[in-house]
């Protein structure tokens, strides 16, 4: 299937206007011995054939359509109102590019300005950018901000092991060329224990809210103590939880980052997602990524435009602190629509449903012989269960015999948490599903 509209007559007329006989002549600067190689690719398919092939491929996956899902660990199955997809499919949004020309991009610009505003409201922070690639890279960018805020003189970052292990891998990848030391995540530590690692070389401390185990840790005094030592605090926060729980701003964070996927973005095997990034006003000139600001046009009307552009790579080049040029524009749009639809009341309701259902599931599972739930700290939508058998074994039975996708096997990342399952329960899990899970676990254990 070709999307090239040229007729033979068009081609001939165009070649004549250029003054050549064939298209091949236009490539005279390409070294002749390498010109026009064969491409060993499968034969082209028509649209209906390719769709049929794709139906086959997607059917070989265990999707949430066919299974009930209790797996989270960084990607969550939340309700996505239909209205979102209908807006995302408007060509004026999804076939546009970066709004370099504000006069013909007010739609994108205003939508992102509103997204930034809703993000600020949600996180309690004064500024937000137009997004990063995902939660992991958003954290990496926060670290770069912290290093630069300390003028490069402090190069130590304290990380909690309660931050998603993949995020901790990504930040190490990002900073490998920059002489930065990471400490703190060799074992699970409390915020107080993490504070003990802070010294005059430390630029930032990052913790997760909730942590990877679903728990809400005690951050009392953390921000004050860090700020008195000129250390920045970054919270990696779940945006749905912020519908009910205290905002990172209220907890004294300098930056709030995280995965925006729960805000109306499908699981989609891990991407595209949305790295949200919010910070205090003091830091806004140091952050990377697109930022949309309000201004006026030459007719006196309110208008929106990309601002603080001189920070960015296309202008600052090697002096830019990050090479990011795009953002996750369409995903930020999705999150903006989601937060508009949910609004004040809806987001609270979603968060409450997650809280209620996860606590119900936890209580029911805790009653089962051989299973015990970790109640040591408050949790939001995910919790840890000690199981009588290896998690992989239980999950295999759940899937095969009960059509249930079980929780995350924490031993994969935390060797001391053998037989510990991390279960995620959201508003998408009905009571019937939860009861079925509990019954299945009971049978599997017996």
């Amino acid at each position: 299937m070709s999307y090239i509209p040229h007729t033979d007559a068009d081609r001939r007329a165009m070649l004549a206007a250029i003054g050549v006989e064939s298209i091949e002549e236009l490539f005279d600067a390409v070294p002749e011995q390498y010109r026009f190689p064969h491409l060993a690719l499968p034969e082209p398919l028509s649209e209906m054939e390719v769709l049929s092939e794709l139906y086959g491929l997607q059917a070989a996956n265990a999707s949430v359509q066919d299974f009930s899902l209790f797996l989270g660990a960084g990607a969550y199955h939340h309700f996505i109102p239909s209205a979102i997809n209908h807006i995302l499919l408007r060509g004026e949004f999804y076939t546009a590019y970066t709004p370099y020309q504000p006069e013909v991009s007010q739609g994108t610009l205003q939508a992102i300005f509103e997204y930034q505003s809703m993000l600020c409201a949600l996180t309690g922070m004064e500024a937000a950018n137009a997004s990063h690639y995902d939660g992991a890279t958003s954290l990496a960018e926060a670290i770069i901000v912290a290093i630069n805020e300390a003028r490069g003189k402090r190069r130590k970052i304290v990380l909690s092991a309660g931050i998603n292990p993949q995020y901790r891998e990504v930040v190490r990848t990002y900073l490998q060329g920059q002489d930065v030391t990471f400490v703190g995540d060799d074992r699970v530590r409390t915020p107080a224990e993490l504070l003990e690692l802070v010294d005059d070389q430390t630029a930032m401390l990052a913790v997760a809210y909730p942590n990877f185990f679903g728990q809400i840790e005690d951050f009392t005094g953390l921000a004050d103590s860090l700020h008195s030592q000129k250390v920045l605090l970054t919270l990696v926060a779940d945006p749905i939880m912020l519908g009910l729980f205290k905002s990172p701003g209220e907890l004294g964070a300098d930056m709030a980052v995280g995965e925006g996927q729960p805000l109306g973005i499908p699981l989609s095997f891990g991407g595209p997602y949305l790295g949200y990034f919010a910070c205090t006003k003091q830091l806004v000139r140091k952050i990377s990524g697109r930022i949309i600001g309000e201004t006026k046009d030459n007719r006196g009307q309110r208008a929106f435009v990309m601002t603080l552009r001189p920070r960015e790579q296309d202008i600052r080049r090697e002096k830019a602190t990050s090479n990011i040029c795009t953002n996750q524009g369409l995903m930020a749009l999705a999150a903006g629509i989601y937060l508009s639809l949910m609004g004040k009341c809806g987001l609270r309701t979603v968060a409450n449903l997650c809280y209620q259902k996860s606590h119900y599931a936890a209580r029911e599972i805790d009653r089962l012989p051989g299973f015990s739930v970790d109640w040591s700290k408050p949790f939001f939508k995910e919790f840890m269960v000690r199981c009588p058998r290896p998690v992989a074994e239980i999950n295999a039975r759940l899937l095969e015999d009960y059509g249930i996708i079980g929780g995350y096997d924490l031993a994969q990342d935390y060797p001391d948490r053998a037989n510990t399952m991390l279960l995620a329960v959201t508003e998408m899990n009905t009571r019937e599903e939860i009861d079925a899970l509990v019954a299945a676990l009971e049978e599997i254990a017996s």
Binding site: A40, S63, E126, Y133, T173, F269, R317, T326, M342, I434
Partner: protein
């Protein structure tokens, strides 16, 4: 056209745009001391939301609306089938933490896409993890860095970058902790070979170069450039932003490039989304295979006549690590897969053929009206100057803004930096001769206006929803959020987050 109020300005207390189910389980008391008091989100109905965003969409310009010759961005048509493909429930509803047995369809798709992207580039291996071109670039430069370190060669800290390069190239280099050495271009727009050879020594880690260059030109000394860099022990990075001119024309791996990235949102028709999500797979030769970001998809058990192979994850032995959580922008990978599958080898070559034909055709129509600084056959785009000696005060930006009045998206302005008043035009292969004729005619009309009635250009655009915006004011007042955020320092002390 009327502007649209902010979503907060149409908010009415008590409205909600979605109805959620009741709690169907016995309830648990919320930990009151952990809860927030305020949540300042809009309160609007579903129809309010739909009308708001539909009206906003009317203020935008996209490929679906008209010609979008934004150079270096490859704004080709985005096939609708791509969107349906990515939304199939087995893809859109697939959790990234599932095991390989539950995700064979997705893994097979990724495996094929890796294989095809390797074939198109003449490379040996591909990682689909990078989320955008800039991240693919960053991965590639980290791979080069680690390759040298792995050989115990710690003194290679410099990356050569032509002065025509996209800003990401130098920014990427700095981010990787390496030093940028900028190379001049010669009078033909090619790399200045003498300067390159002078810069080549045992501190060079590699060179980044865009092919065709950001001037839209196929570098004529490409083999000499590669030889010079390889000769001093450096590696060659190809910025694949312009692959739309290259498919079935030249395989970067065959002429000696060691590593490159693709932009699936340019070459392979995945939509630009108003600024992302993109996807920037990185491809490399044998030498750099162990350093790819990962994990990548591998065949872990061979198939036979009855069973397909089993696909799984493989972490390259000396990988630079993970650059993104999970597996890359999978939804974009599905779209690119669909596109390659529809085109096949000959189809992709036609894409590049017609992209280059279209660009050369527009160039031929305009070269007598606009000054083209490096006038030879171009690749998929070309750069001309938006200025005339006899039209003082007219800038490329004025021409761009005037194009909006005629219903076009402007070309890229002021890039590459080495051409004064640059207008970079990339038509792409999906535009018809009639569209190109009309566009060229419009640019000739604007050239006339520039000489006869320059005010028309200075005041342009006239018919867009907003006029020229005040960027200085935006930076000065720095209004980034329309919601009042409390000054938390002045709030009463926060309660313990530890539940009683």
């Amino acid at each position: 056209m009327k502007l649209e109020p902010l979503i907060y300005e149409i908010s009415v207390p008590g409205r909600c745009g979605v109805r959620l189910p009741e709690v169907d389980v016995p309830t648990t008391d919320l930990p009151q001391d952990l809860l927030r008091a305020e949540l300042d989100l809009p309160e609007v109905s579903e129809m309010d939301v739909i009308r708001h965003y539909v009206r906003l969409s009317h203020l935008n310009y996209g490929v679906d609306k008209g010609f979008y010759p934004l150079g270096s961005c490859t704004m080709k048509y985005n096939p609708k089938v791509n969107e349906d493909a990515a939304r199939l429930p087995g893809f859109a509803g697939l959790h990234p933490r599932l095991g390989i047995d539950e995700t064979q369809g997705a893994l097979m798709l990724m495996y094929y896409l890796q294989t095809w992207l390797a074939e198109i580039s003449g490379m040996k291996g591909v990682s689909l993890q990078p989320a955008a071109g800039a991240q693919g670039e960053f991965s590639g430069i980290l791979m080069i860095r680690k390759y040298h370190l792995d050989r115990g060669d710690g003194k290679r800290t410099r990356i050569l970058v032509p002065n025509s390069a996209h800003g990401t190239n130098p920014a990427t280099t700095s981010m990787a902790g390496l030093e940028v050495v900028e190379l001049p271009s010669d009078e033909n727009g090619d790399v200045d070979l003498a300067a390159l050879r002078a810069a080549c020594d045992d501190t060079v880690a590699g060179m980044m170069i865009t092919v065709p260059s950001t001037l839209g030109l196929f570098e004529r000394h490409m083999l000499e450039v590669i030889e010079a860099v390889h000769g001093c022990g450096g590696l060659m990075y190809m910025d694949g932003a312009n692959m739309n001119a290259m498919m079935g024309v030249l395989k970067p791996g065959e002429i000696g490039f060691d590593v490159m990235h693709y932009n699936l949102h340019k070459t392979f028709s995945t939509p630009h989304g108003g600024g992302g999500p993109g996807s920037g797979p990185v491809a490399c030769n044998e030498k750099l295979l162990p350093f790819l970001p990962g994990p990548i998809v591998a065949e872990i058990e061979p198939g036979d006549d009855e069973q397909p192979p089993l696909y799984g994850w493989h972490m390259p032995e000396k990988s630079i690590g993970r650059v993104k959580a999970f597996h890359g922008n999978f939804g974009m990978l599905v779209r690119a897969y669909t596109y390659i599958r529809e085109n096949g080898g000959p189809g992709l070559r036609d894409v590049s053929y017609y992209a280059v034909l279209n660009a050369n055709y527009v160039l031929a129509l305009l070269r007598d009206t606009y000054h083209v600084p490096y006038d030879r056959f171009c690749g998929h785009e070309f750069v001309m100057e938006g200025r005339w000696k006899d039209a003082p005060g007219i800038h490329a930006l004025d021409i761009s803004k005037r194009l909006m009045d005629y219903g076009y998206h402007p070309p890229t302005n002021y890039f590459p930096l080495i051409v004064p008043e640059a207008l970079m035009i990339e038509p792409t292969e999906t535009e018809s001769k009639e569209t190109l004729d009309a566009f060229a005619e419009t640019l000739k009309t604007i050239a006339r206006e520039a000489h006869e009635n320059p005010e028309l250009l200075h005041e342009a655009p006239h018919i867009t929803p907003v006029g020229r915006v005040d960027e200085v004011l935006a930076a000065k007042q720095l209004v980034l959020c329309c919601v009042p955020i409390p000054d938390w320092a002045e709030q009463p002390p926060t309660l313990s987050t530890q539940s009683a």
